[in-house]
């Protein structure tokens, strides 16, 4: 009797987790499916075709937007990763007055509504005559990504044994040499997760990009938003599918990389 009830419970919880995954992945599956649909309208699946994929190279405005997204993503990620890593390292290494306040100040951009950050950035760009376009986008994306890099690198530095730096200096390495040959390699996993996070945030940002972009510098998410007004066509689905597959591949690769026998 007891046993049976237990069994029933475990079946229920199994069903529950299947449902969670279903809700997560069903919409993606639908997009994937309709990217192969012969019909332009996404209501019924009429037949299988590669047509939308083949026509992608001709869709200049979509590809251009996607190129912008990748460009802004890459550059802002590099900037945010460098600045965030150095900031985290400096704050962990040196103790100074008001450090607690600086830590809190770093959380605020993460928790305030994006719309506030977007408007603030727009105001600053206008005041300081930063050309609105890719430059302003890159600065904006780097800005909101930095705290995330700091957090991931902080987590890594929390378990970092300072004596290995002293050992390096003891063995004749100067401060820079020590940082690049010992510290950076050891905190690298934190730096890489930070960079991934920054890139992900940049690539699918809409709200802040909406405020900080200029004419002619559309990003992919903004372009898709624009298209939803007139109806999304299967070529957007095709591009989305490609993005999805690339993301999945990269995620798997990076997870596999983590299993190397190096501990820090």
């Amino acid at each position: 009797m007891r046993n049976r009830r237990k069994k029933f419970g475990s079946v229920l919880s199994n069903i529950y987790s299947y449902l969670v995954y279903l809700f997560l992945y069903l919409p993606i599956f639908v997009v994937l499916l309709f990217s192969f649909n012969t019909s332009k309208r996404n209501i019924v699946f009429e037949g299988f075709t590669f047509e939308w994929y083949l026509r992608l190279p001709d869709n200049d405005s979509l590809l251009n937007a996607y190129g912008n997204t990748l460009f802004v993503g890459c550059i802002s990620t590099v900037i945010a990763t460098v600045i965030g890593t150095l900031a985290s390292y400096g704050m962990s290494k040196y103790k100074f007055k008001g450090k607690g306040i600086i830590d809190i100040l770093l959380y605020i951009p993460v928790v305030i509504p994006e719309i506030v950050l977007g408007i603030s950035l727009l105001a600053i760009f206008n005041l300081s005559n930063v050309p609105m376009g890719l430059t302003s986008l890159i600065i904006a994306h780097a800005t909101f990504s930095i705290p995330f890099v700091v957090f991931t690198v902080n987590a890594r530095l929390a378990g970092f044994d300072r004596s290995v730096e002293e050992a390096a200096m003891d063995l004749g390495a100067g401060r820079l040499k020590t940082f690049f040959t010992v510290t950076l390699p050891i905190i690298m996993p934190g730096v890489i997760s930070g960079a991934f996070l920054a890139f992900t945030l940049s690539v699918d940002d809409i709200i802040i990009s909406f405020f900080t972009t200029g004419p002619g510098s559309n990003t992919f998410p903004l372009k898709v938003m624009e298209l939803t007004k007139t109806g999304v066509t299967p070529d957007v689905y095709a591009l989305t599918t490609i993005v999805f597959i690339v993301t999945v591949a990269v995620t798997f690769l990076s997870q596999r990389d983590k299993k190397k026998p190096v501990k820090g």
Partner: protein, 376 residues
């Protein structure tokens, strides 16, 4: 010892962390090729002194000279000393080859020479064939050897070792003590060794610097430190000892009659030391030097009852309670005669087996310290 060349000279060094005065007026000369141990309980400032020699802390005052050159302001990488850290501090992301090679790479030594010397060094610490392993794949003892090899490959003039065997189990620790001592003799490099383990210090060192709350209490050979401790702290910390509070009563020649809280005894007055009449002193006798008898002995009057006996290997330790409640320890080999439990006995010793220590200066100092530390 006097003819040997000084390699590290610490002159009147003080170190203060905020309100915490950690090293007091330290004067210490370390000679080329010697094995010097800094011994003291945890928190007495040993690591701090080592870190000042290595360049990781700056003295609050005083000078440190290495090979006659002042180094207080120099960076760690500008000093010809190397350190074996308390926690090993191996580079986790490098294999053993690259860990050991690190110092040579920083000096831009040629590739062929690096691999030759790393090989040599790993052979020296008996880790041949470990080049490709990572630190996380090694046992504690092996990590320790890598840390030593990584420091020694730079051929430092002085090697600083901070409780290098602290994390190892007893058996391995004993083995490594011998190995380290042999290594030091073979290479002739000066070792400055930090430990809180007095047995380790006695077994390995040429000289021992006994540290007490940031003060250097005694700097001497292991025999001297054991046989002739100069402060109560040293007598207490090194080996086992019976310490009596006493007063000097009568000195004839170099034999002194000393009054104890209960009874009296004979002792040896230190040559060239003058004592005030009835001066307060500590009399220290090692457990193996305490003699016992059923009869009373001329010059002694200490009576006690044997309370208990413990067998430790081939040594029998007896605890004798004397009139004021103090326990006097007696130790004997199991082949020797031992008192019986419950027996009333008279205690005595050869007058040259007791060490008489002036107590005042030290007492005052420790009173002040205890007061300022809130009584530790």
């Amino acid at each position: 010892m006097e003819e040997r060349r000084a390699i590290v000279e610490i002159k009147n060094v003080n170190k203060i962390f905020g309100e915490n005065h950690v090293v007091h007026d330290l004067d210490l000369t370390i000679y080329e090729g010697e094995f010097l141990t800094m011994l003291g309980p945890s928190g007495c400032g040993k690591t701090t002194i080592l870190r000042m020699i290595g360049g990781f802390e700056e003295p609050s005052g005083g000078q440190i000279l290495v090979e006659g050159e002042r180094v207080e302001e120099k960076e760690p990488f500008e000093r010809n000393v190397n350190t074996v850290f308390q926690s090993y501090a191996l580079f986790p992301h490098m294999d053993i080859f690259n860990n050991v090679a690190y110092g040579l790479k920083m000096k831009k030594v040629k590739k062929e020479e690096i691999s030759r010397r790393v090989k040599e060094m790993l052979a020296l610490v008996q880790l041949n064939g470990f080049e490709k392993r990572y630190p996380s794949q090694l046992s504690g003892g092996q990590k320790q050897r890598v840390a030593i090899a990584r420091a020694l490959i730079n051929r430092p003039k002085v090697l600083l070792l901070d409780e290098p065997l602290g994390a190892l189990d007893l058996k391995l620790r004993k083995e490594m003590q011998l190995e380290l001592k042999n290594l030091q003799k073979k290479l002739g490099i000066t070792f400055v060794y930090v430990t809180h383990d007095q047995e380790e210090a006695l077994a390995m060192s040429d000289r021992i610097a006994v540290m007490n709350q940031g003060y250097l209490d005694q700097l001497d050979t292991p025999e001297k430190v054991y046989e002739k401790p100069v402060t109560r702290f040293v007598a207490d910390f090194i080996g086992e000892s019976n310490i009596f509070e006493a007063t000097m009563s009568e000195i004839t020649g170099n034999t002194a009659s000393i009054g104890l809280e209960v009874g009296y005894a004979l002792g040896l007055a230190e040559e060239g030391v003058t004592y005030a009449p009835s001066e307060m002193v500590y009399a220290c006798v090692r457990p193996e030097k305490v003699l016992f008898s059923q009869e009373t002995i001329e010059g002694f009057n200490i009576k006690g009852v044997v309370r208990e006996q413990i067998y430790v290997g081939n040594i029998i330790k007896s605890n004798v309670i004397i009139a004021n409640g103090q326990t006097v320890k007696i130790s004997r080999l199991d082949i020797d005669e031992v008192p019986k439990v419950g027996e009333r006995i008279n205690l005595y010793w050869n007058s040259d087996d007791v060490v008489i220590m002036k107590s005042r200066g030290y007492q005052i100092r420790s009173v002040i310290e205890n007061a300022s530390l809130g009584g530790n």
